[in-house]
Amino acid sequence: MLKILKYSFYDLMRSRWSYVYFLFYLILGFVLLFLNNDVDKAVITLMNIIIVLTPLIGTIFGVMYYYNSKEFTELLLAQPINRRKIFMGQYFGISISLTLSLVLGLGIPFVFYGLFKSAAIFNFSLLLVVGAFLNFIFVALSYNIALSTENKIKGFGYAILMWLFLAVIYDGVFLISLIIFNSYPLDKFSLAATMFNPIDLSRILILLKLDISALLGYTGAVFRKFFGTNIGMFISMSLLVLWVVFPVLRMNLKLRKKDF
């Protein structure tokens, strides 16, 4: 598996898009830090970008890589290698190279800026951790979609739809249902609804650090427990891990019966 990982990784690391992605974050980081000099604001803007963009890029890279390397995958399948390892290798190759683009792209400007002296280091590393999780989650989800859809165009469409659903539509439905059922106690519902969407989950994780003063304005006991203690952080983190584990498991399950 490590060999496949290595080759997928090198392959991606050499593609133009990885550089574009890396440069994008690099420029973004420098612009945010050196043009407005306000770390708090930079972290907030970064959060908005990371939460929307990393899932999108992860999704696109995932399906694109799967379909583009289909024939090559077939060549690998004919080699004496366990097919599970081939796909796990590719999966980790993509996820790691995307994560590296993110971490280096944003990390370099922050190091230049003197992040290690600043108090924002924790918030910033949290952002990177969440971004990495989102990469792993969305590459896994898009690989699942690609594995289940033979048609490239359809697969691409489904993947983008999934992203659109999780990034925008889900929250819209969520907000509307909150408004409609206004008169019921909603704290458990709203927390649960957050857990079922990895983007919301990541957002909450960052909010726990950035906007804790607002979140503590809630009256519900469940909220207070969730936001006021480390429980919230712990639960969200473990759920993010599950969001990686389940799609990967499903991928392996699908692979057992998949014809190429």
């Binding site: 969520f174 909603l186 927390l191 957002r203």
Partner: protein, 410 residues
């Protein structure tokens, strides 16, 4: 000659009356009560090192009560400790501990009833019910004291410095924590509160009720249950205070309720659940304040008229402003908003596009508090944007026409 004798006698009587009474375990005067009994106006009672278990010490003479280092009066949790019913007294350097708890009587470490012209300084009060309680008094100075308790709820706790009906008081450089209210003013006029630190109190760090013409400045209010409350008062000046880390469902940096004609300037509100909550507050000028990383920088809950917000910095708050109605009679001008995305083509430091500080999302959160979990979601940004383009739910005339491009109070 007669005149000389008179002067001589006056001199004698002066030196005699200004005698010093020393209290200690091995002295002839062993208790504070005994000392008070033999003291006369103008005397100094010096309390030597040691623990004195006494309660309800009534002082009705104009004396100075001075504590040596290590002098402790222990009330044994049975009632109040020092009760002054006199003018022109002074108390200094004492440590007073363990005031009794009562649900009917306001026991205090130091209680002053109808006393004028006094100084309370350098005292440490621990495990108190009420710390310093002044009733119907004037011209007192309370400085450099440290008052604390460890009570768990509002009902079983008292206030640090509690003034009921007073005038021309000056309260400064004190530290209050673990109490109900750090400082409580009710019917107090023309008084000054400055350079105090009030933190970790169960209710308010500072609380004004029906108290007009007071000023407080350079104080720090941190991590109190509900911040600072100014209620039913007029002509209060608040400046250079720091309100921070007041977190909770009903927590504010500053709560304004039914107040008129106040000046609020050069204050810092940092990381409070709500920076300022204003309810029925009219003719108030908010100038040069900094709101940094609060949940809500300002929440206007109703009936607030003719307020002016100018030259304030709103930076990285979860929500800058919340209105519970779409009527606006307040003016926002020349503030810095970190979320402002406009431009300044003529380079005059003022953005060319007005800024709308009330977002649709803050309106939704007012109606459905749980919606707050969607803060900073892409969907919320989209609906905020559409509301910005054509306001329906938020006051359409509420905007800052001259938003600053750079901070006003850097």
């Amino acid at each position: 000659m007669k005149c000389k004798i008179l002067i001589f006698f006056l001199f004698i009587s002066f030196t005699v009356s200004a005698k010093q009474i020393v209290v200690c375990k091995s002295c002839s005067v062993k208790t504070i009560k005994e000392a008070i009994k033999i003291a006369e106006d103008g005397d100094e009672v010096l309390i030597k090192k040691g623990v004195y278990k006494e309660q309800n010490i009534v002082i009705d003479k104009a004396i100075s009560l001075i504590g040596e280092k290590g002098a402790v009066i222990d009330g044994n949790n049975e009632g109040g400790i020092l009760i002054f019913q006199t003018n022109n007294f002074k108390i200094k350097g004492l440590k007073i501990v363990n005031v009794g708890l009562s649900y009917t009587i306001e026991y205090a470490a130091i209680k002053v009833i109808k006393g004028n012209d006094f100084i309370i300084e350098d005292c440490v009060m621990e495990n108190v019910f009420f710390g310093i309680l002044l009733e119907k008094s004037k011209r007192g100075i309370i400085r450099n004291n440290k008052i604390s308790s460890n009570r768990k709820n509002e009902a079983s706790s008292g206030n640090g410095i509690h003034i009921w009906s007073g005038e021309e008081m000056e309260v400064y450089k004190n530290e209050m924590f673990g109490l109900r209210d750090g400082i409580y003013f009710e019917f107090v006029k023309n008084s000054l509160v400055h350079d105090n630190v009030s933190h970790n109190n169960i209710r308010y760090g500072l609380h004004f009720m029906f108290s007009n013409n007071n000023t407080y400045h350079h104080n720090e209010f941190r991590n109190n249950g509900a911040g600072v409350a100014v209620m039913f008062s007029k002509f209060i000046i608040m400046h250079h205070n720091k309100f921070w880390l007041n977190w909770g469902a009903a927590s504010y940096g500053l709560l304004l309720k039914e107040i008129y004609d106040a000046e609020i300037y050069d204050n810092l509100f940092e990381q409070n659940t709500i920076g300022i909550n204003a309810e029925g507050s009219t003719r108030i000028n908010y100038k040069n304040n900094t709101f940094l990383r609060n949940g809500w920088a300002i929440k206007i809950s109703g009936a607030c008229y003719k307020n002016v917000f100018a030259k304030n910095d709103f930076m990285s708050n979860s929500l800058d402003l919340s209105y519970n109605s779409n009527i606006n009679d307040n003016k926002f001008d020349n503030n810095y908003w970190s979320e402002y995305t406009g431009y300044d083509l003529d380079k005059n430091g003022i953005g060319d596009v007005p800024y709308r500080p009330v977002k649709l999302f803050s309106y939704i959160v007012n109606k459905t508090p749980e919606a707050l979990v969607l803060l900073r979601s892409l969907f919320v940004d989209i609906i905020n944007f559409s509301e910005k383009v054509s306001p329906v739910f938020t006051p359409d005339d509420l905007m800052d026409n001259n938003p600053l491009m750079k901070r006003a109070n850097d």
